[in-house]
Structures are given as C-alpha cells and as structure tokens.
Symmetry: C2
C-alpha cells in the first residue's frame, strides 16, 4: 500500500495528492497536525514537515522535492505514458528546468510569502483548538501579518496571470508539476477566501481548467469543521 501523511489544507501535501492522482497511483491518507510537532510524526520525518509518502516495501519519502523527483524518475523510464494525464517534468531539458524554476517559486517563495503565514494565522490555531475540544475561540489573526500576506498574494496572482496569458500552462505548452504546485497553494488560500480572482481573469481561467480535473475532486471535498469555505470554492464554474 502507498500511504500519504498530509494535512487537508497543507499546500505541499496537496501538490502530491494531485501528482498521485494524475499518475493514477492509488493511496491512502493519514492526517497529521505537523505544526504541533507530534513525537510519532518526528520519528517518521525528523524535519517535522509534510508531506511524507510511504510506499510499502519500497521507500519512505520525506518532503515534496524528494517525493516528486522519485515519482518522476519512474515516469521517464516507463511505457504507458499515454495513461498519465499530467507528466511532472515534461519536455526537453530546458523545459524541465523551467518547470523546476516555477515549482521552486511556488513551493519556496509563495509558500514563505503567503501560504505559511496564512495557515499559521487562520487555520492551525483553529484546528488545534478543535482537536483539543477547546470551546474558546483561538487567537485572532494578526492584522499586520494578514495585510502583508494579502499584498504578497496580489503580486503572486499577477505573476500567475502573466504566465497564463503567455502560455497554455504555467511552464509552457504542456501541463506539469508547476501547475499542480501553484494550484495547491491557491486552492488553500481560496478555501479561506483569500484569492481576489476578479482582478485576474487569465489566472482564473487557468485555475478553472485544473479544478475540473478528476485529480482535483478530493481537494474540493475537504472541509474543516467550523470553517466553511466560500461557496465558489468547490464550484467548477466559479
């Protein structure tokens, strides 16, 4: 069996859920509140970071970088690629370099400038409180942090808009892991109503195409009790 340790609104985990979906690899999921540093999870991954992929009898893979490159190494060598709907690193050596540049952009830069703070401010305290059966509200988000995060988000969305206008998919003519990485971050922010789509029609059209893929369906079904997403979150014609 293949088992993914993840958290519902962890963008890094979501990108691997999408990758596994696109590669037609069946997997089960275990959820961890990694930000609480549970001892059992640190035994699995001493970095204390999500996601972790266990492939029974084969490999224990920690972190997006290690996981996606491991999956992609197989992709290069195997027949039957037509069954796969999105290849992680398609094209020539140059085109793959462009995919990786953008994966780094979303999983390092956008993660640091937007997603990490957004999750730490709006999601983690609420989820920890629910888990401990707390009845008092968690700490309110810090308005100055949210202001900075929203300003950063506008910049990133403008860049995705720009790429979507220039190209069919973010890294070029073929869809790739760069699209999955970007969509994972946006999907988490979108759950929180933090994506100003109306000013970015090209980005919205690109996201809409990804959102309607079967691999996306489980993400759109995720819910956190007491934190309903906006109505457009799961709407394919948003």
């Amino acid at each position: 069996m293949t088992r993914l340790t993840h958290f519902r609104l962890c963008p890094l985990s979501r990108s691997i859920r999408l990758a596994l979906g696109e590669l037609d690899i069946a997997f089960e999921m275990v959820e961890e509140r990694a930000w609480e540093w549970p001892a059992s999870f640190l035994t699995l991954n001493p970095a204390g970071e999500l996601p972790v992929l266990e492939i029974q009898g084969e490999a224990l893979l920690c972190g997006v970088y290690s996981i996606v490159e491991y999956l992609a190494e197989n992709e290069l060598g195997e027949a039957g690629q037509e069954r796969r709907r999105i290849r992680m690193f398609p094209g020539t050596r140059d085109e793959r370099a462009e995919v990786r540049r953008l994966v780094d952009w979303f999983h390092r830069k956008l993660d640091r400038e937007v997603s990490r703070e957004l999750m730490a401010q709006k999601v983690h305290p609420q989820v920890s409180r629910l888990a401990s059966l707390g009845t008092t509200a968690g700490p309110a988000p810090d308005p100055s942090v949210l202001r900075a995060v929203r300003a950063n988000m506008r910049q990133h969305l403008a860049y995705i808009d720009f790429l979507s206008e220039q190209r069919r998919w973010l890294a070029g003519e073929a869809p790739s892991f760069a699209d999955l990485a970007a969509a994972s971050h946006l999907s988490c922010a979108d759950y929180l109503g933090e994506v100003p789509w109306q000013n970015h029609p090209a980005a919205k059209a690109w996201y809409s195409r990804l959102k309607s893929r079967p691999s996306f369906r489980p993400l759109l079904a995720d819910r956190i009790p007491g934190m309903a997403p906006p109505p457009h979150y799961a709407d394919l014609d948003f």
Copy 2:
C-alpha cells in the same frame, strides 16, 4: 561562457559554486546584492533570488533546484564520470531520494531557520552600507533573533553530527549535493563565527574533509571588507 550571478555569503549560491567546481565546469561570477531588489537583477530573475546560472547559447537557469537538476541530468547520461569528483545525485533511486530529502532539509529548513536570518541580521546591512559609502554603522543585530538562530543552529549541527556518525557522507556512502548544500550553509555561518564546532566532533571531521577539496578553495578566499572571518575560517586543520 558560463556565468553565475551570486553573492559571496549566499549559501544557495555557494552550493552551486561547489557543484560547478566538482563537475569541472569553468564559470565566471557576477555579484548582486539581491536583497536590495535591483531592477536589472529582477529582469534576469523575477523571483529576485540567487543564484542564477547563464550558459551561453544554451540556458538561463534560476534558483538552486532548477540549476542542480539541470546539471545532474547531463551527469547521468555522459561518459567520463570518473573525471568528476562528486556526483550530485549518486546511487540508486532510493539513494537519490535520500540526497534530495537532505538537500531540502538544508536549502529550505536550515535556510529558513538559520541562514536567512543570520545574513539579514549580520551581513546585508553591513554590505549595503559599504556599497553606499555610508560611514555610520548599520543597525545592530536583534539579540532575540540571534538567540533563536543560535538555538536552531545547535539543533541542525547536532543532526549533521548524527548523520556524520552513521554514514561516511551525509546522505550515504558516496558524497553528493547534500554535502555541498550543508557545507555551504555552515561555511557562511562559520565566516560569522556562528558554528560551535567544539561540541560536534563528527560534524567537524566531515566538514574538514569537504573543506580541503579544491572546489572549496575559492569560498575560503572570500572576504567582506570590514568583516574579517575568525582565524579558523580558512584553516584546513581548524
């Protein structure tokens, strides 16, 4: 010609300098104070991040991830590997996954928890001041940030110590880009006297072996005016 845009004490840039050295690829260097977001640099890499590698007539590569995987793709296919002293991702698919897990550890986790803050507190203000011919001292480092960074550094050093005790090189029996990534961060912190080697003999012995490689020599010759490194910085028998 191959040109690397870097900054002397940028750990990410240093790891690519080491990689190019190990792969026997000749290159020239251009320095940028990327943290000042110069417009000409943003044209080169809109992410505003170092390093950038330009291979004339062939490729423009932004960021460590894109650069090292591009270099490594060639490494797999080519003959004459015996000329190369360190392969970036040696071994089996599993062993490469372990290399990438650790590269991510150093270039994402250690970078975020130690290096970024250390550079922002102790190096960037000083270098910007020198460049603008300023004569007043830069802002003093924030003691609470330095305390946190030093506590994190002790954890990371303990982990490197642990790996060095278990294995010949950090990711296994063969040296790899994981060693170069870790050594790059430590070398920058070491320039600032921020590596408590005395408590970590295995890590020190591992670093010592890397430090004596020819690819390391240019890093040990780097100096920032007005910020001398401690005497052991360039000493091979430190």
